[in-house]
C-alpha cells in the first residue's frame, strides 16, 4: 500500500523519464552561455567574426589561455587574478576577524555604550556601497588609498552582516562553558581562543565561502578606485578589454578571461557546496 501511494507521488516509468528530460533541458539551457564562452576561448578570432561561430571547442585552448594569462589586453590576466584573489581573501578574512571580535564583546561583556554600538553596527546593514559611492570615493581618495589593496578592501568590510551571524551563534553557546572558564580563572581572551573560536569553526567556514564570492564578484567599487591597470581585478578588467571604438573586440582572449574569472568562485561554490548552502541560508535569515 505504502509503495503504491509512493508511486502516485513520486513518478516512475514514463513520468520519471519526462522529469529527467525536462531537468536535463533546464540544465542545458542554463549552461549554454558558459559552454559558448568556453568554445569561444578555444577558437581563433577569425572563427568568431564570421558568424555563426562553431559550437564545439577548437584547438586554440593553450594559445588563447597563455595569451590571456601572460599578455592580456591592457595588463596580463594573471596580474588581475592575483589582485582579485587578494581582494576576495582580504574582504573575507577582514570581515570575519573584526566581526568575531566585536560580536564577542557585545555578547560576553556589559560595558558602557554597548547598546549604542549595537545599534550603530545594526544601521550598517542597510546601505550597500552602491548607494554611497561618491562620498566613499572621496574618503578613500583623501587617504591616498586609490589603486591600493586597502582601498579595495576596507570600504567593503564596513557592514555588519557577519557580526549579526556571530552574535546569534554566540548566544547559543551554553552559559556553563563561560561559567567554568570564569571559575577556572581563565581570562576572557583565553576563553575566546580556546572555546568560542573552535566552536564557531563551521560558521566561520560557511561565512568565508559567501564573503569570498561577494568580494570576488565586486564590480563597481574596483572600477572606480583602480585607475591603474596593474591594480584591476579580473571581474572589472574584462570590460576594460573591449576596444572603445568600432574595432572588433578580441573575443577569444576576452572569453578565456571570462572563464578564468569564474573558475575560482565556481570551485569554491561547488567544492564547498554544503558550507555554501549553509552560509547562504544563515546570512539571509
Amino acid at each position: 500500500m505504502a509503495r503504491e501511494i509512493h508511486g502516485m507521488v513520486e513518478k516512475r516509468g514514463a513520468g520519471l523519464w519526462l522529469t529527467h528530460v525536462f531537468m536535463i533541458l533546464g540544465v542545458l539551457v542554463i549552461f549554454f552561455p558558459i559552454w559558448l564562452a568556453f568554445v569561444a576561448s578555444t577558437v581563433t578570432q577569425a572563427d568568431i567574426i564570421r558568424p555563426p561561430m562553431p559550437v564545439w571547442p577548437g584547438d586554440q585552448f593553450w594559445t588563447n589561455y597563455k595569451n590571456a594569462l601572460f599578455s592580456g589586453v591592457n595588463v596580463p590576466v594573471g596580474t588581475m587574478l592575483m589582485n582579485s584573489l587578494i581582494m576576495a581573501i582580504g574582504i573575507a578574512v577582514g570581515k570575519i576577524v573584526i566581526s568575531l571580535l566585536s560580536a564577542f564583546a557585545i555578547v560576553y561583556f556589559k560595558f558602557p555604550g554597548r547598546g549604542v554600538f549595537f545599534w550603530l553596527i545594526f544601521l550598517t546593514l542597510m546601505l550597500p556601497v552602491e548607494v554611497r559611492i561618491v562620498p566613499t570615493f572621496e574618503v578613500v581618495a583623501s587617504f591616498g588609498m586609490l589603486n591600493s589593496y586597502s582601498g579595495l578592501i576596507f570600504p567593503l568590510i564596513a557592514s555588519a552582516t557577519a557580526t549579526f551571524l556571530f552574535r546569534q551563534f554566540f548566544l547559543t553557546i551554553p552559559d556553563e562553558l563561560a561559567e567554568a572558564a570564569r571559575v577556572d580563572g581563565a581570562r576572557p581572551m583565553r576563553f575566546f581562543w580556546d572555546i568560542v573560536v573552535p566552536m564557531s569553526r563551521t560558521n566561520i567556514a560557511a561565512l568565508f565561502v559567501i564573503l569570498f564570492i561577494y568580494g570576488w564578484n565586486q564590480y563597481l567599487w574596483p572600477l572606480l578606485i583602480t585607475t591603474d591597470p596593474e591594480m584591476n581585478t579580473i571581474v572589472m578588467g574584462i570590460k576594460q578589454m573591449f576596444p572603445s571604438g568600432d574595432d572588433f573586440a578580441h573575443w577569444p582572449t576576452i572569453m578565456a578571461t571570462s572563464i578564468l574569472a569564474m573558475i575560482p568562485p565556481v570551485i569554491v561554490v561547488v567544492g564547498m557546496q554544503r558550507l555554501f548552502i549553509r552560509g547562504l541560508v544563515d546570512s539571509e535569515k
Binding site: I5, I30, V97, F111, I121, L171
Partner: protein, 293 residues
C-alpha cells in the same frame, strides 16, 4: 536575548569592538553623512564653493522627467528580473523534488551560475547577442528577425533582464528546493489517496506551503535587482539606448562620476537610502512573522 554569564571590565570590550567601529565610522557613517549633507547643496559653476539649496535638489530631481523615467525603468526591470528568475527556479525545483535519485547531481550543476559575477554574466550574454558576432542574434537574423539591442530599447531591456535573472535562478532554486523538501510527505500522500492529481496537489497544498519562501525571495530578488545588477548594465548597455536601461543605481553612478553633478547624485543616494530602508523594514517584519509561522 542576553547572556547570564558575562566577563568584567570595560577596556577590553572597547578594544575588541574598536576595529569594527572605526572602519564603520570612516567608510560608512562619514560617507553616508556626507551624502545627506551634500544633497542639500549645489556647487557653483566653477566648483569653488557650495551653495545651500535646502531640498532644492530633491524638488529638481522629482520634477526631472529623466529621473522619473529612471524610477519607472527600475520598477519594470526589478519586476521582470524577479519573475524571470523565480518562475524557472520554481519549475526546476519542483522537478528536482520529484526525483528520488539524482537530484544532487542536478543541484551541483544548477548552482554554477550563482558563482558567476553579474559583470561576467553580462559579458557572456552580450557575446551571444552581439549585433556582429553573436550566435543567437545571427540565428534570429536567419529567421528574419533583426536583433539590435544597441538601438532598440525594448531589446536592450530584455537582454539586461535575462542576463541579471540568469545567475539568480540558481539562488532561487536552492531556496525553493529546500522548502519543497520540507513539505511533509504525509500531507501529499493523503491528498494523493483522495485522488488529487499532481497539479491539483501543487496548487492547493504545495504552493500555499511555499508562500513564506516565495515572499522572502520576492523581497531579496527585488533588492538584488535594485542594487547588485550594476555590473550587468554597465557591461551590456551602459544605461542606453536613450537611457532605457538606466536604473536608479546606474544613474547615481553616471550623474556622480561621469556627469560630476555631486548635489544631484547625493540627493539620489538619499532617495535610494530611503528605498533600502523601506525594503529592509518589510524584510524584518516578514522575518518576525516567519518565526511564529
Amino acid at each position: 536575548m542576553e547572556k547570564r554569564v558575562t566577563f568584567r571590565g570595560w577596556l577590553l570590550p572597547l578594544l575588541l569592538i574598536a576595529p569594527q567601529v572605526i572602519i564603520s565610522a570612516v567608510f560608512f557613517f562619514y560617507p553616508a553623512g556626507q551624502a545627506i549633507w551634500q544633497s542639500l547643496f549645489i556647487p557653483d559653476p566653477f566648483g569653488l564653493s557650495m551653495q545651500y539649496v535646502g531640498l532644492g535638489n530633491f524638488e529638481f530631481l522629482l520634477s526631472d522627467p529623466f529621473y522619473r523615467a529612471s524610477f519607472v525603468t527600475t520598477a519594470i526591470f526589478s519586476i521582470l528580473v524577479t519573475l524571470c528568475s523565480m518562475i524557472p527556479a520554481l519549475f526546476l525545483a519542483v522537478l528536482a523534488d520529484r526525483l528520488i535519485k539524482g537530484s544532487g547531481v542536478y543541484r551541483t550543476l544548477l548552482i554554477w551560475p550563482y558563482a558567476v559575477a553579474p559583470a561576467v554574466a553580462g559579458v557572456l550574454w552580450l557575446f551571444m547577442f552581439n549585433t556582429r558576432v553573436g550566435v543567437v542574434s545571427w540565428y534570429l537574423g536567419q529567421l528574419g528577425y533583426d536583433w539590435n539591442h544597441v538601438l532598440n530599447g525594448g531589446e536592450a531591456m530584455g537582454l539586461v533582464v535575462v542576463a541579471s535573472a540568469w545567475g539568480r535562478i540558481s539562488y532561487n532554486f536552492l531556496f525553493f528546493f529546500a522548502a519543497l523538501q520540507a513539505v511533509p510527505k504525509s500531507v501529499i500522500e493523503a491528498a494523493a489517496i483522495d485522488g488529487a492529481h499532481f497539479w491539483r496537489r501543487f496548487w492547493t497544498i504545495v504552493l500555499p506551503l511555499l508562500s513564506p519562501t516565495t515572499f522572502f525571495l520576492l523581497v531579496v530578488n527585488i533588492v538584488y535587482a535594485f542594487f547588485e545588477t550594476f555590473g550587468v548594465i554597465h557591461t551590456i548597455t551602459a544605461g542606453g539606448p536613450q537611457q532605457t536601461t538606466t536604473i536608479l543605481v546606474y544613474k547615481v553612478f553616471s550623474d556622480g562620476f561621469v556627469g560630476q553633478d555631486l548635489g544631484s547624485s547625493s540627493a539620489q543616494s538619499v532617495i535610494l537610502l530611503i528605498v533600502v530602508g523601506l525594503l529592509t523594514v518589510v524584510q524584518f517584519k516578514f522575518i518576525e512573522k516567519r518565526v511564529h509561522y
